[in-house]
Symmetry: C2
């Protein structure tokens, strides 16, 4: 975690942290990553600059946690939580009903909803744009935000290999890209419309292949 | 074409146009799309601002043509030209040797080379980053630069449907994304390494599917 010290557990600091997340996400949406500053976030959140520096060491750290928080909210809607309450987001998993196609389609449909949600879209675009030209930022955010989500697909595909639904010689880390990356590119580069029908089609094509069977 | 009037066919104006393209691509690489200006391009190219405004109406137009020129140079290396010399770049096609997998792998390997070429990488990243947050710019550049390339895959896959190598019920415009988008995402978001082995694997997975046959 990027947070330097554990936050106070008082209601007051929880409220401040939420205000800081909201301010950081709003600001990066409006002016982009480069022009977002700790000072700007503090002013917008109505807190002192020192309040932010007490918890985080840089704007990248604040934003990373704001996105992790946003992602956790989304994950609560799309994936099934671990057995115990209060588990870390890494404990979320893609449902395993025994029907791989149905499970993948359900998660991708939820991702479509998330990508089209304005609350998520604007800050995510601003961050993605910054990452395209900033290798250090990209490594930090991809490693902590995107890759853990992709690993959920790796686990679901590996489970499908155990039951014989996916060929044993397939590399799950590459395989997931056949349905995840097309959706990502359509969203990032606006190369085509995004819909449930589209992501359902991607899953069918990926599982059964383009060549005749 | 965005060019307002046809350029002089003299050697001198051809040299100016080349200098302007080089300046535009270098500048966008260094300072990003937002901070690139017609004035900056003119100064770097060693021409007057009016020389640029005589041929193009905006920096987006200059950059679009600079990229089309860069793309045409790359296309000459990766795709086979039409039968007649001097044909437009749209006449380029993905080779059809009768072996779909081999043809797709060859073109994707050439794309890997292009994506890893510093001359191409820096300006392309700058433009892609701008497109992620700028919908109008994105529509212009995707429509004129990326989509024509994707249509080459559509035609090759449609030809493969005629010979039975691809199922007739497949939508080629979606199918191509199974191998093109993973490469695009790894490059754009640095989500993994790019290599010939990787793109070969994508083609095999896409054609034969992840499920057992």
């Amino acid at each position: 975690m990027a947070r330097k010290t554990a936050p106070d557990s008082t209601r007051r600091s929880e409220k401040s942290r939420r205000a800081i997340y909201d301010a950081a996400l709003a600001l990066v949406s409006e002016v982009g990553y480069q022009k977002t500053t700790i000072e700007g976030i503090a002013a917008r959140a109505g807190v002192g600059k020192q309040t932010i520096y007490r918890w985080w060491s840089s704007k990248a750290d604040v934003l990373l946690e704001a996105f992790l928080d946003l992602q956790e909210q989304a994950a609560e809607q799309v994936a099934q939580p671990g057995q115990e309450q209060g588990q870390a987001p890494e404990e979320y998993a893609i449902p395993d009903t025994g029907d791989l196609a149905a499970d993948l389609k359900a998660v991708l449909r939820a991702t479509v909803d998330e990508l089209l949600d304005p609350k998520f879209e604007a800050p995510s675009r601003a961050l993605a744009a910054a990452g395209v030209v900033d290798e250090k930022l990209s490594a930090e955010f991809i490693g902590k935000l995107l890759e853990p989500q992709l690993q959920l697909y790796v686990r679901r595909l590996a489970a499908a290999q155990d039951t014989g639904a996916v060929r044993p010689d397939i590399d799950p880390r590459i395989a997931l890209e056949l349905f995840v990356s097309p959706l990502a590119q359509r969203w990032l580069q606006r190369t085509g419309p995004i819909s449930y029908e589209y992501t359902d089609t991607l899953v069918d094509y990926a599982l059964h292949g383009l060549a005749p069977r």
